[in-house]
């Protein structure tokens, strides 16, 4: 761990200006991931800007849906009456993540910003392009440990089957983000050049040639809040998380399903998967197929087949090519109550 400066800010404006000042500066929210990264020297900060005093923890109803402040704790969101009643998928996904202690510390914005749990990323003696990009660009500092991808030919049991590149096959570890991408959320950010909105599905990115970049935030930008539009999915939502132990484990595969049903017909549906890609993986083609169809196992199987288009295994994670479609079917059956 390197000595670093610590600043506490109380207004978003001060936060943005603090982060814009110099490279090597990081926002510190709940700290449940960043502190680990610093301890392992994966992140070597010059300066931490503590944003825990920012007044951004409000969860409130808006004209078009729900707005959740970026600093709202994961546990507060999961237990919030409006969330449980109108967006149960989000509540289920949050409660499937981490442990009670971590959820009490972790924030919504921090959850979105958490880094992959790829073991090669965390061990600075092993190769990783995300930690140590081949060409150290202007966004990221100096290389940290060897470059390369340890996972592609190594222990990739937990890794991506969609959207990987020759540089990186890491997955985004969040459960919350699977629900948010399924629910068509929008991210409100504030930066040196003003405020803007980012559709949740565009917030995280695929690794391509720059796996060091997890998301599309611009330098100096601060997540202010997340908006979720009103929907008709509350009665038929399910978050299925398949993992190696019953709690406190990252997803092998997770599936978020939200359905608007009329009798046994799917009027509208949202489907997203976790544990499969560098970003929360929305299954739009499978959704399209299921719209207007009956909730039958045959249709679910076909949707799962469509969802798997373009999937690729890397050896140890080949089982996901079977587990993912099975999980989609299982989650659909539960959400549509046809199990």
């Amino acid at each position: 761990m390197n000595p670093f400066q610590y600043t506490r800010v109380t207004t978003p404006k001060a936060a943005v200006s603090a982060l814009s000042q110099e490279s090597g500066t990081y926002f510190l929210a709940g700290g449940t991931n960043l502190i680990d990264l610093i301890k392992r020297e994966v992140v070597v900060p010059e300066r931490l800007v503590d944003i825990n005093k920012l007044p951004l923890a409000t969860i409130e109803k808006t004209a078009t849906g729900l707005r959740i402040g970026a600093m709202a704790k994961n546990s507060a969101v999961a237990e919030h009456e409006l969330v449980k009643k109108h967006f149960p998928l989000l509540s289920m996904a949050l409660n499937a993540g981490a442990s009670a202690q971590l959820r009490n510390m972790a924030t919504v914005g921090g959850n979105m910003m958490q880094r992959t749990r790829c073991p090669y990323f965390y061990d600075t003696s092993m190769p990783c392009n995300k930690r140590s990009p081949v060409q150290a660009g202007p966004d990221k500092g100096k290389p940290n440990g060897p470059s390369g991808c340890g996972a592609i030919d190594g222990y990739n049991r937990m890794h991506a089957i969609f959207g990987g590149s020759t540089k990186c096959i890491a997955v985004h570890p969040s459960d919350m983000c699977i629900a948010l991408v399924a629910l068509d959320a929008t991210v409100n950010v504030s930066g040196p050049k003003g405020d803007r909105k980012i559709p949740f599905s565009d917030f995280h990115r695929l690794p391509g040639d720059t796996p060091q970049k997890d998301n599309t935030l611009l330098p100096g930008e601060l997540i202010m809040s997340v908006d979720i539009p009103t929907n008709k999915f509350a009665d038929n939502s399910h978050y299925l998380k398949v993992r190696d132990r019953a709690s406190y484990a990252f997803a092998l595969i997770s599936v978020g399903v939200a359905v608007d049903m009329k009798r046994d017909v799917i009027q509208d549906i949202r489907l997203a998967m976790g544990g499969v890609a560098h970003k929360p993986w929305r299954l739009t083609e499978a959704e399209q197929f299921l719209r207007g169809k009956s909730a039958t196992e045959a249709n679910f199987k076909q949707a799962a087949t469509i969802a798997m288009n373009g999937a690729k295994g890397y050896g140890e994670n080949d089982f996901k090519l079977t587990l993912a479609p099975n999980s989609i079917i299982d989650a659909l059956k539960t959400a549509t109550k046809t199990a």
Binding site: G150, D153, I253
Partner: protein, 745 residues
């Protein structure tokens, strides 16, 4: 006699201290002027340190010293094995590498300490440790046992030699045969409490140590040997431990190094290793590959079993365990052979872990028994009963006690075994498949030597003393119960002092042996007190003068004639009359030669019900019943807790625990508690424990046998067997994770 009475379920005597913070664990001790040590581990699995730069670290704030192979203080006893071999006498050193911490630039395993950084605070030591930079001349690390199975060597230690009864290939001619391979991955103890030591030189040749050791006397001896000082000058204290599971069964090289460095810097020095280092510095269950060949006739009688196991060890030390032993004596079978090999790899040395090799071996044997029962179309319990043996076929002698048939029956009733279908994959609840499985477990019941002291005070209170460490099973509680049974002193007037070398010598807590060993010593010491009191009570001038010793009963501080309770004398008055402020007796206790006529084992049977999701491969243990046949139960409540703990560990072994090595680097990729999956509460259902609670007439005066190991031994097999019953899929490689059960829909 106490052995005729069932004991009441009393609360754990240290429970209140443990939940209120009163219990002091080794790392809780703070000494004036204490310094902190942090270990820098190698980042390669094999090679040589080419250069090591400690300048920056030495200049960091608060740093008192940075120790590497270039400046490590000498250790006088270093040429002798430090801390001893993990098992038995040291074999010839020329066949192995030599590992001496910080004494050579050679790297023999990943995570091997290359520097120990000492500073005036833990944080400063941690920071300075991050500034130590090494370069290496790397060599390919051989870490994959599967690739080196052919290099297995016979350990050449008593107990690990090849065994043969009848014909080695006897199974081949059987009408029904089976050959199956089973794999256990590296598992790591991972108790909550991190390992370490606090060393304080109180004089030029006197030493105070607070350690995480399962045996204070063993640590005392190891340090005496390493530093060539009188063991009496070494004081070791380990009263409480936050889980040992085997990792504290020896003194580790870094502990010895801390003692040496403490001497060099002239300050008390504390080391607490990191969670990552728990994977490389304090042992693990070795990766083990097993093959079982089994043959039976169509009536379900075993004709032959051949059990072979190959396990990893370090390049520098031969670790062995009793992986194949259960096969020799568990079932009646005319042809049995076992074979045990180890392969020296570029890995840190393993150590016994939770039910050690016996748990590893039981998984294979009891899975194979289930597979054979299925082939024969027999109920798995029926198959075991057809091969039940009342005498030990390995040694041709009787068991000291064995009530396994009753255990099968009671466990089967409790789990609802009659609901099991012999046809796999034939029970569903909604989308989930339901299955039942069972397995037998067994472990040696020992009677080791131990000493204890008992002091009966004039105020009626009793103090029990023994150096034994209570690593959590409730040793202190059991000793209290034993003393209470002999002397009738109320439970709340009994104090037990333990976990300190100033107390009478005791063996290391391990091998499920402590109640038998130390309990017997307490029993003997208390019996001596009772005998003296009785003697005084019946002598001339006493109200009970002329009575026979065996007429008297002692309860609640009163000696009385059993048949005429009004004829009595209060013990405190008796002591007053005889000018005694205390009756102080010590006992050295060990088993007599008659024990050699018997085979002494504890037995267990585990039953589980599992639910398996056929789409996702997720397995949930939905019900667990564990039955212990371990003689008289001294402390029913802590015994049940111990069984529950064993089952929780068994669920981890069966379903979740696996330390994964990337063999290209020779390094772990999941060496933390997020990625190494110890079972959590959500994995563990309500567990029913059943104690047969019948005294063993041979082993010791209490009739009690150990139960720590049997709580886990066999459990993983029961889960695998239940998964087979639920799905028809046989998983022979632990852990049974979802990917191993997946089928295309």
């Amino acid at each position: 006699m106490t052995k005729d009475l069932k004991n009441p379920p009393i609360d754990r005597i240290d429970g209140r201290m443990k939940v209120t913070g009163g219990a002091q664990y080794f790392a809780d001790f703070e000494l004036p002027n204490m310094a902190y040590c942090v270990i820098v581990g190698s980042e390669i699995g094999r090679g040589t340190i080419a250069s090591i730069d400690t300048k920056k670290a030495q200049g960091a704030p608060g740093v008192l010293g940075v120790f590497t192979h270039q400046n490590m203080p000498p250790i006088p006893g270093w040429d002798a094995p430090v801390g001893g071999e993990a098992d038995g006498p040291a074999p010839k050193p020329d066949t192995k590498e030599k590992y001496r911490i910080l004494h050579t630039p050679k790297i023999l395993f990943d995570g091997q300490p290359i520097a120990m950084v000492v500073a005036d605070s833990y944080e400063r030591a941690t920071y300075a440790a991050s500034l130590v930079k090494a370069t290496y001349a790397k060599q390919a690390a051989r870490t994959d046992l599967e690739k080196h199975l052919a290099e297995g060597i016979a350990p050449g230690r008593p107990g690990s030699s090849d065994y043969l009864r009848g014909k080695a290939d006897g199974y081949q001619s059987a009408p029904v045969t089976l050959e199956a391979n089973y794999t256990i991955p590296v598992e790591v103890h991972n108790p909550m409490e991190l390992h370490g030591i606090l060393a304080h030189w109180t004089g030029a040749d006197s030493l105070m140590i607070y350690a995480k050791t399962q045996g204070v006397n063993a640590t005392q001896n190891a340090m005496a040997e390493a530093f060539k000082i009188d063991p009496k000058k070494i004081h070791v204290h380990t009263e409480f431990m936050g889980g040992g599971f085997g990792m504290g069964l020896r003194t580790w090289p870094q502990e010895t190094a801390v003692v040496a460095i403490a001497k060099k810097i002239g300050r008390p020095l504390k080391l607490v290793v990191t969670r990552n280092q728990m994977f490389t510095l304090v042992g693990h269950r070795p990766y083990t590959v097993q093959t079982i060949n089994m043959g039976a006739d169509t009536n379900g009688k075993l004709i032959g079993i051949a059990h072979a196991a190959t396990a990893e060890t370090a390049s520098y030390e031969d670790f062995t365990e009793a992986t194949v032993n259960m096969t020799k004596f568990m079932y009646e079978c005319p042809n049995v052979s076992t074979r045990y090999r180890i392969v020296r790899l570029d890995r840190s040395v393993p150590i016994w872990m939770r039910g050690p090799g016996e748990a590893t071996g039981a998984f294979a044997l009891e899975s194979a028994m289930d597979e054979m029962a299925h082939k024969l179309g027999l109920d798995p319990i029926e198959f075991r009963l057809r091969n039940y043996t009342e005498t030990d076929p390995e040694h041709n002698r009787p068991y000291s006690s064995k009530n396994l048939k009753e255990a099968y029956q009671r466990g089967a009733e409790a789990i609802g075994w009659n609901k099991r279908q012999n046809q796999p994959a034939s029970q569903r609840e909604g989308d989930w498949l339901i299955g039942y499985g069972m397995s037998t477990g067994t472990f040696n019941a020992f009677r080791w030597e131990a000493s204890a002291r008992a002091l009966l005070n004039a105020d009626g209170s009793l103090t029990i003393q023994s150096a034994v460490t209570d690593i959590g099973p409730g040793t202190g509680t059991a000793l209290t119960m034993i003393a209470h049974n002999v002397l009738g002193v109320p439970l709340n007037r009994i104090k037990v002092a333990y976990g300190d070398t100033s107390l009478p010598k005791a063996p290391t807590q391990g091998g499920s042996a402590i109640v038998s060993a130390v309990g017997s010593a307490v029993y003997d010491a208390c019996t001596k007190i009772k005998n003296q009191l009785v003697e005084l009570a019946i002598k001339d001038g006493s109200p009970l003068a002329g009575r026979q010793a065996d007429e008297l009963t002692l309860t609640d501080g009163v000696l009385f004639v059993e048949k005429e309770p009004e004829k009595k004398i209060v013990v405190s008055e008796l002591m007053w009359t005889n000018n005694l402020t205390v009756v102080d007796k010590s006992a050295d206790s060990k088993g007599g030669p008659e024990l050699g006529k018997y085979s002494m084992y504890s037995f267990s049977v585990h039953f589980v019900q599992v639910r398996v999701n056929p789409l996702t491969g997720v397995v949930r243990v939905s019900k667990a019943v564990s039955v212990a046949d371990s003689g008289r139960i001294i402390s029913p409540k802590t015994a049940a807790s111990q069984m529950i703990g064993g089952v929780a560990g068994g669920i981890g072994m069966a379903l979740t625990e696996e330390a994964v090595i990337d063999h290209r680097f020779g390094r772990f990729v999941n060496n933390n508690l997020a990625d190494y999956h110890v079972a959590v509460h959500a994995d563990v259902p309500a567990i029913e424990t059943i104690m047969i609670d019948k005294p063993d007439p041979i082993i010791n005066p209490m009739g009690a046998k150990g139960m720590g190991e049997i709580a886990l031994i066999g459990f993983a097999g029961a889960v695998a067997n239940a998964v087979f019953n639920a799905t028809g899929q046989r998983v022979r490689d632990l852990p049974i994770t979802p990917d191993k059960l997946l089928r295309t829909v």
